[in-house]
Amino acid sequence: MADEIRQAVRTHLLEDVLAGEDPSNLTDDMPLRTSGIIDSMGVIRLTGFLEQRFGIRVEAHETGVENTDTVDAIVSFVESKAD
């Protein structure tokens, strides 16, 4: 399950905020929000994608850095919501 989530999140990020970027540059621990790659609008698109793709509901208070700053954090968050 984690691998499926990871691949889907990576694909979304590479299409949405890193278009044209070499996929190998997107590492699982790379800061996304604290580096400015994803801003508040990007988070809204990301959570919208996660809700649609994985059938989860993301509350506003769950969209902070702790759940959205890295691919690893996003995967863990989705797994916790799917439990």
Binding site: D16, V17, L18, E21, N25, L26, T27, M30, R33, T34, S35, G36, I37, D39, S40, M41, I44, R45, T47, G48, E51, R57, V58, E59, A60, H61, T63, G64, V65
Partner: protein, 392 residues
């Protein structure tokens, strides 16, 4: 869109409230820019302030769609849109953020008063140099032991001059941009907080809007709403709900304008015929009707999405943009078809036009709604893109 029996009953209840306790024209209050405290109390006693709040938090838990339908009714029947604007600012900038992000202690301390109307919430986000670019705010929050020290100023604080509790956003680290924004709950009597007199606005004049100054304003650590750095999520949540519900009052007002305009053009005769028989007049009436029928489902859809636990930022931006523009154009049409009577302050549509123009600006200007819609459709930001190596 079919409404449930519960929502239809609520709508009837709200219409009864409006008819029994809120049937004052308010022309004098509009001229004087005076807050309608009796109207506020009537709405509080009628349960309006409890509508969207979950039952476990002391509310009626009717959901956002039902609240939107209630706001449509109030917009249709209550002349004083400034009062309704104040209620919306109170609900979406004060009450809902506390419900969604507040601790149990904060809920216990503030919600009873906010829901019974004895405590009015104000919204301190905008600054003179940070309007559309709200996260560029300069108001700072500095840690001092267990406390925080707020320094800065806010402009266009909705409900500021009458607020008992201010929801103030400040940055704990300007270098972090939006990730440094933090919300604080600041009681009006906090030393170091000063509220200005009401600003002299063009419309929504009975809603009190002012400035606040924060000088060495010390608040305890438990005044933080959410967590440090979590203010952007809180603010965006607030705006998402607000953009849906606050525009509902304009949908109701457009319905009222249409009713009055139709009645007027059927009764008013020129050249021996009702003016409604002339195509140039009738076309305006038709356009007014079309705007209502396109605006209403947009705002109700936000309610349906939020009640289903889904995000509605895109839908809220679209509704905000469309409904506010429709409200302005329908007000212009109503003034035009009613001619000199529409131009008089003693009528409703002259005030409607001034009030509607505010809707293009508050809750994010319509220009910013277009920017948001484009971004939410995945179009690139106009700001420099960041790359994985940190370059822009």
């Amino acid at each position: 869109m079919e409404l449930s029996d519960d929502i239809i009953r609520l709508r009837q209840e709200i219409e009864d409230l409006a008819r029994d306790r809120l049937a004052e024209s308010g022309v004098d209050r509009d001229r004087d820019g005076a807050f309608w405290s009796h109207g506020w109390a009537a709405c509080a006693e009628g349960g309006v302030l409890r509508l969207p709040v979950p039952e476990e938090d002391g509310g009626r838990g009717v959901g956002l769609l039902a609240t939107i339908v209630a706001m449509e009714s109030l917009g249709r029947m209550v002349d004083d849109l400034g009062l309704l604007f104040s209620i919306n600012a109170h609900l979406w900038a004060g009450v809902i953020p506390i419900v969604r992000f507040g601790t149990e202690d904060q809920k216990h301390r503030w919600l009873p008063g906010l829901l019974d109307g004895s405590v009015i919430a104000g919204h301190g986000a905008t600054e003179s140099e940070a309007g559309s670019d709200v996260f560029a705010m300069r108001t700072t929050a500095r840690r001092d032991g267990e406390d925080w020290i707020l320094e800065g100023s806010k402009s266009f604080v909705a409900n500021g001059p009458v607020a008992d509790l201010l929801v103030v956003y400040a940055t704990t680290d300007p270098d972090l941009g939006e990730l440094g924004i933090t919300g604080f709950l600041v009681p009006r009597d906090t030393p170091g907080l000063q509220c200005s007199e009401p600003l002299d606005k063009m419309g929504l004049r009975t809603s009190q809007t002012g400035a606040i100054v924060l000088e060495d304003c010390r608040v305890p650590g438990d005044a933080i709403l959410g967590r440090p750095g979590g203010g952007a999520a809180c603010f965006n949540c607030s705006m998402e709900w607000e953009r849906g519900a606050i525009l509902a009052m304009h949908v109701g007002r457009m319905e009222r304008q249409l009713d009055e305009a139709v009645r007027f053009v059927k009764e008013r005769r020129q050249f021996g015929r009702p003016i409604g028989s002339y195509q140039s007049v009738a076309n305006r009436i038709v356009d007014m009707k079309m705007r209502i029928e396109t605006a209403r489902p947009l705002v109700r859809r936000i309610g349906m999405l939020k009640d289903d636990g889904r995000q509605a930022m895109l839908e809220a931006a679209i509704a905000k943009l469309h409904v506010s523009e429709a409200a302005v154009q329908s007000s212009l049409d109503a003034v035009q078809v009613m001619g000199s009577r529409g131009y008089l302050r003693e009528g409703i549509v002259e005030r409607d036009l001034r009030d509607a123009l505010g809707a293009r600006i508050y809750s994010g200007t319509n220009e910013m709604q277009r920017v948001m819609i484009a971004r939410l459709l995945g179009l690139p930001s106009s700001l420099p893109e960041r790359r994985p190596d940190g370059s822009a």
